[in-house]
Symmetry: C2
Subunit: 215 residues, 2 copies
């Protein structure tokens, strides 16, 4: 939740960069060479002033009255986000959610390759799904290092998430996307992003409650 | 992304309330009557000053040197979030991800009940999963109104998300949790929360790139 990240780019801008990148890649695919802040803002669901402010942190990228060069922006944002090369990911917990994530087309499209699967269920360990064998979690430290996995996606039950985190940290993983509703304890140099769908629903519920109150 | 929500409570505080609520409910289950800001902060992964600041927006809830009454906080935050009564939700798109969400224990625990399933695949429509029949999306406007569904969780492929959103909005739904990587166009009084796991992975990738640069 810190606003400092050492790059000189505010956290709130970083959070918007993936969305900009997605829209810019779409424009690039359509053969659009230049884009004005107004158009990009409309595509990304923000406003032109926000786009200009966010891009001001990235250096001199646009020309007044002409717009931004799409290809240069794609290149530059990809570099900032560190997604120019594919990064290897592993899925830990191969239940319904883990299996759904394994088939998620957004991961390869955005530069992430799932290269390993882990579970503790003897019925799943050793089985092959879409060309990948499920390893036992005990093997994670060894397998993750051998494969050079950088990111672990945890889709375990809540009580198993910390054990899974410990195993992937031992395997050299420095980035965890945690879909279990469990707060993880990890070393300072490991980055965790917590996805909590119940929290998202509660925030939606707050907005519904406000609308009801306003009626 | 607006910071204004009409409640007088900053958006950033609203975003943290679900996490506080979860920790407070755990403390309540353990029979803890009072909690100091330091302890609650440690449980929620924030700091005591942040807890005190966030709670200052909720009114006079704590006593200096003694702490906050756990039960009163649970009651109060539940009311603000509008989760005192169960809210009915529907899942649209019953593929692997939709099925995984249907079994997600966090939803009922946090006050949300999945009461309807929708898909367009003839092989799924009419089938029953965990006691719920899958309806065709065409029936959504009628079924959602009959059941009083307030929240729709979209787990469709990207190209089908807007069609799904249109159907649930026609059914009176005012809150959408969208797991498809598609920006939805909805009326102003419909709240959308976008879950984008690829974006989360890209933000993790940014942190990895920074660590690599710092080495």
């Amino acid at each position: 939740m810190s606003e400092k990240n050492g790059s000189g780019i505010p956290e709130s801008t970083i959070e918007r960069l993936p969305q900009y990148l997605r829209c810019l890649i779409e424009l690039q695919a359509l053969g659009v060479p230049l884009v004005k802040s107004e158009r990009l803002a409309a595509l990304c669901g923000t406003n032109a002033a926000q786009v200009r402010k966010d891009f001001s942190y990235l250096g001199e990228l646009g020309t007044r009255g002409i717009g931004y060069e799409v290809a240069a922006l794609v290149e530059h944002i990809s570099q900032i986000l560190g997604v120019k090369e594919r990064r290897k990911a592993a899925i830990v917990g191969y239940g319904k959610l883990g299996a759904a994530l394994h088939g998620y087309p957004g991961f390869p499209e955005r530069g992430f390759e799932v290269v390993a699967l882990f579970d503790v269920d003897p019925a799943k360990v050793g089985q092959v799904f879409d060309g990948l064998a499920v390893h036992h979690l005990d093997e994670a430290p060894k397998v993750l290092r051998e494969l050079g996995v950088e990111i672990a996606i945890l889709a375990t039950p809540p009580h198993a998430a910390q054990l899974a985190a410990d195993a992937v940290v031992e395997g050299g993983v420095k980035a965890i996307l945690n879909l279990a509703p469990t707060r993880l304890v990890v070393p300072d140099d490991v980055n965790v992003r917590q996805v909590c769908l119940s929290t998202d629903l509660q925030i939606l519920s707050f907005r519904l409650a406000q609308q009801e109150g306003a009626r």
